[in-house]
């Protein structure tokens, strides 16, 4: 089956990102495909490479990035939510006159249409939030 995943909260603050990650791993292990992981609301904070969690704790940004790479998963950070929260890639940074960017490897920034499209294309959409 094709799953779509929506993550509404940032890493660490809420368990949503952890639960979504564990679910995604388990779905892949069962032979399902993950059409896309869409990061909305504070979920966009999963996509910053400036994160440095304590060394004895999990690094959720890297875990997501690794999963995306290994299984070729499309991981989309919502552009509108990202702008409100200070997440940007090089293009966005240029467009808004920022002197740097912080999007992590494995993520891309795009619009809400990608979430709607995911709802249409995936067999199941699972939402993780607060």
């Amino acid at each position: 089956m094709k799953f779509g995943i929506l993550v509404n909260e940032g890493p660490y603050t809420h368990q949503a990102s952890d639960s979504a990650y564990q679910f995604t791993k388990a779905a892949l292990a069962k032979g399902h495909t993950i059409d896309r992981v869409f990061f909305y609301h504070d979920g966009v904070n999963n996509g910053t490479r400036f994160t440095t969690p304590p060394t004895d704790d999990r690094n959720l940004v890297n875990l997501w990035g690794g999963l995306a790479k290994e299984h070729n998963i499309d991981m989309v950070v919502c552009v509108a939510a990202a702008q409100r929260r200070g997440i940007c890639d090089a293009d966005e940074a240029k467009r808004h006159g920022k002197d740097g960017n912080n999007l992590a490897d494995g993520f891309r920034i795009s619009g809400l249409g990608q979430l709607i499209e995911l709802g249409i294309q995936a067999d199941r959409l699972v939402v993780f939030g607060d």
Partner: protein, 139 residues
């Protein structure tokens, strides 16, 4: 904008949170507006504190935040006109439909008559509606 080869799914947006205290109401509405371009079968449900989103007379000048309640009036123009409000949630909060924004749409199938978008329904009816959905968005 729908390039899905005619797939029409039933999309339900469930709103259970009050406006302003958190951003979920505002950002949920932004999804609905974008989603309206995709020609799906869209419904909105307002349950629990979500019914507060539709209360009329909101004035955010004092809190310095953006008043996004006028945007609900635009839903009809986007062909989003199935707006279900749970009666039990209204009752618990001492509200009636008269306290809510008078959301309208023009009915293309009925000589463009102006009709109410808001439909107040019971928990039992809403439960049946939820069960028929292909995709349920909650924020």
């Amino acid at each position: 904008m729908s390039d899905e080869g005619g797939t029409i799914k039933k999309f339900m947006y469930v709103n259970r949170k009050a406006p302003y205290g958190t951003i979920y109401a505002l950002e949920s509405l932004e999804v609905v507006l974008i989603g309206a371009a995709f020609d799906q079968d869209v419904s909105l449900a307002f349950v629990d504190d979500g019914v507060y989103q539709l209360v009329k007379g909101q004035n955010t000048k004092g809190v310095g935040m953006k008043n996004f309640s006028p945007t609900y009036n635009a839903l009809g123009d986007y062909d989003v006109n199935k707006i279900y409000v749970e009666k039990e949630s209204l009752d618990a909060r001492g509200l009636t439909v008269d306290d809510l924004l008078p959301l309208k749409y023009e009915d293309e199938d009925d000589d463009w008559a102006e009709k109410d978008s808001i439909c107040v329904i019971s928990s039992a009816e809403l439960a049946k509606l939820f069960d028929q959905q292909d995709v349920v968005f909650s924020f």
